[in-house]
């Protein structure tokens, strides 16, 4: 542990709550896993998991669903992180989707997400027999997330039924499931985007450099900046990559992640910029705009 600032009472409370949830998931389930998506929320989640089981190590592996379209910097950060902490890292790609040639550019974001993320996740959970999966989702991200439980029950086939959610009183979580059923667990449910960055700053948690502004090769698309991370991004007629000072508020598949123009190159800069922001973080995610209730539909099908 590096020297850290004292947490505010608010962050300390969120931290303790999340640690309690992580321990609960580890105790109550036969084979839990931590969904590690490499973003800032996953970084916080992993940091909390390391704290929760100290002086032991987290009694579960990390799982990354790799669509093969993540930023290269994300993949190197992922591998370095797992190695640094000596944690088991499982990487799963939907091979069947890959051989069908599903990709975020010509297949469309909807189909790509369905096959390479949602289906891939279900495949991995089934293949390893995980009965509980921790995720870094927050209730402040999106409207249907605001209604999701901390311990969110999934029926056979990983289906989420929003109208049949178990009431969740106090912190007395109902962790009971039958074989074939599973639980998604969200220790960061009550955190906001502000809290995540404040905590990263206070605890000095490493994050992917893509969150910080730097000159990057980008093209302008649907009002956002798309980074040309490798040669697979087809350029449209008259489109030439230009170098801009940009950064990302959320990270996913690079052709679907819009950057914002920014000069914020340090954590304090990012926090200052965010407090002045007038646009939500998910705006940069093209997959959320597919339909008014698109997140709820994806989640019902098993998306995280």
């Amino acid at each position: 542990m590096s020297a850290k600032q004292r947490l505010t009472p608010h962050l300390a409370r969120l931290e303790s709550e999340a640690i309690g949830i992580l321990r609960e998931g580890a105790c109550a389930f036969r084979r839990p896993v931590l969904l590690y998506s490499i973003g800032k929320d996953s970084s916080v989640l992993l940091h909390l998991a390391l704290k929760a089981f100290y002086p032991g190590t987290p009694p579960f592996p990390l799982l990354h669903i790799d669509t093969t379209w993540k930023f290269r910097e994300m993949i190197s950060f992922r591998d370095a992180t797992a190695k640094r902490h000596g944690l088991e890292l499982l990487v799963h790609t939907n091979q069947e989707g890959l051989s069908r040639g599903i990709n975020p550019i010509t297949s469309g974001s909807g189909l790509h997400t369905q096959v390479m993320k949602t289906e891939a996740l279900r495949q991995a959970l089934d293949q390893y027999g995980f009965d509980a999966a921790f995720g870094g989702a927050r209730r402040d991200e999106e409207k249907s997330r605001a209604k999701e439980r901390v311990f969110s029950f999934r029926g056979p086939g990983h289906v989420w039924e929003p109208r049949l959610q178990r009431p969740e009183l106090w912190s007395l979580f109902n962790t009971r499931i039958h074989p074939g059923e599973s639980m998604r667990i969200f220790p960061l449910s009550n955190w906001t985007e502000y809290d995540v960055w404040d905590y990263i700053a206070a605890e000095n948690i490493p994050v992917v450099p893509l969150y910080f502004a730097a000159p990057r090769p980008v093209v302008r698309r649907s009002g956002g900046w798309i980074m040309v991370d490798d040669e697979r991004l087809p350029l449209e007629a008259g489109e030439t990559p230009e170098t801009r000072m940009v950064r990302f508020r959320t990270l996913g598949c690079y052709p679907l992640s819009g950057a914002i123009e920014s000069m914020a190159a340090t954590l304090p800069d990012i926090i200052t910029e965010m407090r002045a922001a007038r646009r939500s973080e998910r705006e940069g995610r093209l997959i959320d705009h597919d339909g008014e209730a698109s997140m709820e539909r994806k989640k019902r099908e098993g998306y995280f």
Binding site: S16, R139, K147, E168, W170, N190, E292
Partner: protein, 616 residues
């Protein structure tokens, strides 16, 4: 003081259309927390689903589920987050409709303040009272009475005063610490983030100012030390720590602690966290304690201050809010979670149902979804707890259905019951083993379950004759016969059926103890009760026999003419006609009486007993 005022969790409640979601949307808007892209979505949504004409409908920010947006109502609890320089807020926006009361209680369980919204044009409604009573029951002590839609009554001070007076009178008995009444218009923003010019007669604070200032200083830290052990951390042979969150009070290295259930004592050696050892930990902190002595402690145990022990009992009285689709059945076993302990518990008696509009106590035999009642419960293992009114963290429990795993109840313990404490089992020298050896047989319970007319009693009678002829001490218990005596007071409602089976099980257990083979013929339609029997008797000695004939076959046989009566509507709650039969999933013996004679089925039972080395 600043350190204490870190976070306020509150809940908004009131009747449908009182404007709960609109109020929260307004608070988020006035705190500058609605982003531009959210605005543009809201504009589209307002035109499609909105109820505010051309104006923005803030409620659509919160009603996130498709069904909610289509019906224009809130179904589930939504949590929203906002902050001002003075405080962070988590608000639970909860449904107003009566059928979603359980979701309102969910929001209330973690809140310390409630905003009760009342529509100024309608005045207090039954839901306003209902929600206030639920808030009180769930331990909320701070109330904001927000009289909304004041613009529609011309900001009339007299109208405001009349509603407030009526509410204060009603709420006198609810034990709230403070009630702050504020005239507002959520849609127009009056008295939300600033004082309104439309209410010059109002001298109090605006809503946001009050929310920032109200002192709910959770005094959890000032209560006796309670530490429910969540997890035993044993990374290697030299470290054994007890991980959990301090539920109340504080603890310092060197302090004496006690294991609540057994009274075993030790001292805290270290308070371990990843950021280094602490000298002291207080309520809300996640820590790992190591102790000076090796005492046997497991997940679910509670460490407490020896000077202030909680109650420990296996029978207790509790207020329960029923949330299950199926009604609460006294006598049925449910899973109970308190702290990190799971056990099995049943309601031994339902003292009364609370009329949540009038606060009257009504007699009841069962609780339906959204009902609240005072119950006596018995648990398999003794539990350590504090009365909920004294400590929300150690006095609350949930009940979970053993088969569907649905969360069926929220419970708030009032006190332990001493009845069981002074009744100890007498130990006799002649026990089940001695009798079993004398008779040279293994006492077992043959439990025949099936529809009326399926052939239970007929087959049991044949089996008993064969056993008796072979010199086996045995006895038949029959559902109809028991109902003439021991169970004469019971009817055929689901609740009475559960109690009927419980009594039959206890009687069977006594006969087994006497060394007999017992044959019991009961419709016993519910899986849960047959599971209860299996656990009461022990799986080794319990043989579930499904006497299986189709409903059509049983109706055609109709030996007692009951099906004809039931179909004519003369017998309510008749299994197979107007009451369900849950067939066994894995019976020990499966008899298909539609296909085989009673004699063949009896032989099948005897053969199974021979295979098990039990008889004949």
């Amino acid at each position: 003081m600043a350190a204490k005022r870190d976070l306020l969790r509150f809940i908004t409640c009131g009747s449908v259309d009182d404007g709960k979601s609109t109020l929260i949307g307004r608070l988020l808007h006035d705190c500058g927390l609605i982003f531009e892209d959210t605005y543009s979505n809201l504009r589209t949504d307002s035109q499609r689903h909105g109820t505010s004409g051309d104006a923005l409908d803030f409620a659509l920010l919160l009603d996130g589920l498709e069904a909610e947006r289509q019906q224009g109502i809130t179904i589930d609890v939504a949590y929203r987050f906002f902050a001002t320089p003075q405080r962070s807020f988590i608000v639970a926006d909860t449904p107003g409709h009566e059928q979603y009361t359980r979701n309102m209680a969910t929001g209330a369980s973690t809140a310390s303040l409630a905003i009760i919204l009342v529509d100024a044009t309608k005045g207090l409604l039954p839901q306003s009272r209902r929600h206030s009573i639920i808030c009180s029951l769930l331990g909320i002590r701070h109330i904001v009475l927000a009289i909304n839609k004041m613009d529609l009554v011309g900001f009339d001070a007299a109208r405001f005063g009349a509603i407030v007076a009526e509410y204060r009178h009603f709420a006198e008995a609810l034990g709230f610490q403070d009630i702050t009444a504020i005239p507002i218009s959520a849609r127009r923003g009056d008295n939300i983030a600033s004082l309104s010019n439309n209410t010059p007669w109002y001298r109090g604070p605006y809503l946001l100012a009050h929310s920032e200032a109200v002192d709910v200083a959770a005094d959890q830290a000032d209560k006796p030390f309670r530490f429910p052990v969540q997890w035993v951390n044993r990374p290697n042979a030299s470290f054994r720590g007890f991980a959990g969150i301090v539920a109340s009070g504080r603890i310092a290295a060197g302090d004496a602690i006690m294991l609540a259930v057994t009274g075993a004592q030790s001292r805290v050696a270290r308070i371990v966290t990843a950021a280094g050892d602490l000298a002291e930990a207080v309520a809300g902190q996640a820590v790992t304690l190591t102790l000076a002595d090796e005492i046997d402690i497991a997940r679910g145990d509670m460490l407490v201050a020896p000077s202030a022990r909680p109650e420990t009992a296996d029978q207790f009285a509790a207020d329960m809010l029923w949330m299950g689709q199926e009604a609460l059945l006294p006598g049925r076993d449910y899973l109970l979670r308190i702290g990190h302990a799971w056990t099995t518990a049943r309601v031994t008696s339902l003292r009364h149902r609370l009329d949540v509009t009038t606060r009257e106590h009504k007699a009841a035999r069962q609780l339906e979804m959204n009902d609240i009642g005072l119950c006596h419960l018995a648990s398999l293992q003794p539990l350590s707890f504090d009365p909920y009114a004294e400590n929300r963290a150690t006095g609350a429990f949930i009940l979970v259905d053993r088969f569907t795993h649905e969360t069926v109840a929220a419970g708030m313990i009032r006190h332990g019951l001493r009845r069981a404490t002074n009744i100890h089992r007498a130990a006799f020298s002649i026990d089940k083993t001695a009798r079993s050896e004398r008779y040279g047989q293994r006492p077992v319970l043959l439990w025949f379950t099936g529809l009326s007319g399926s052939g239970k009693s007929t087959i049991a009678n044949l089996v008993e004759q064969a056993l008796f002829a072979a010199g086996r001490p045995c006895y038949s218990l029959d559902g109809d016969n028991l109902r003439h005596g021991l169970c004469r007071d019971l009817g055929f409602t689901a609740a009475d059926r559960v109690e009927n089976i419980r009594r039959a099980g206890e009687v069977a257990k006594l006969f087994l103890d006497a060394g007999l083979i017992v044959l019991a013929s009961f419709i016993s339609p519910f899986r849960a009760e047959r599971q209860m029997l299996r656990e009461l008797i022990g799986a080794e000695d319990f043989l579930e026999i499904h006497v299986d004939a189709s409903l059509e076959t049983c109706m055609a046989r109709d030996p007692k003419g009951l099906y004809a009566k039931a179909k004519a509507g003369l017998i309510p709650n008749f299994t197979g006609i107007s009451s369900p039969y849950e067939a066994p999933e894995n019976p020990n013996i499966h008899l298909k009486t539609g296909d085989f004679t009673a004699e063949a089925c009896a032989e099948q039972v005897l053969q199974a007993l021979r295979v098990k080395g039990i008889a004949c």
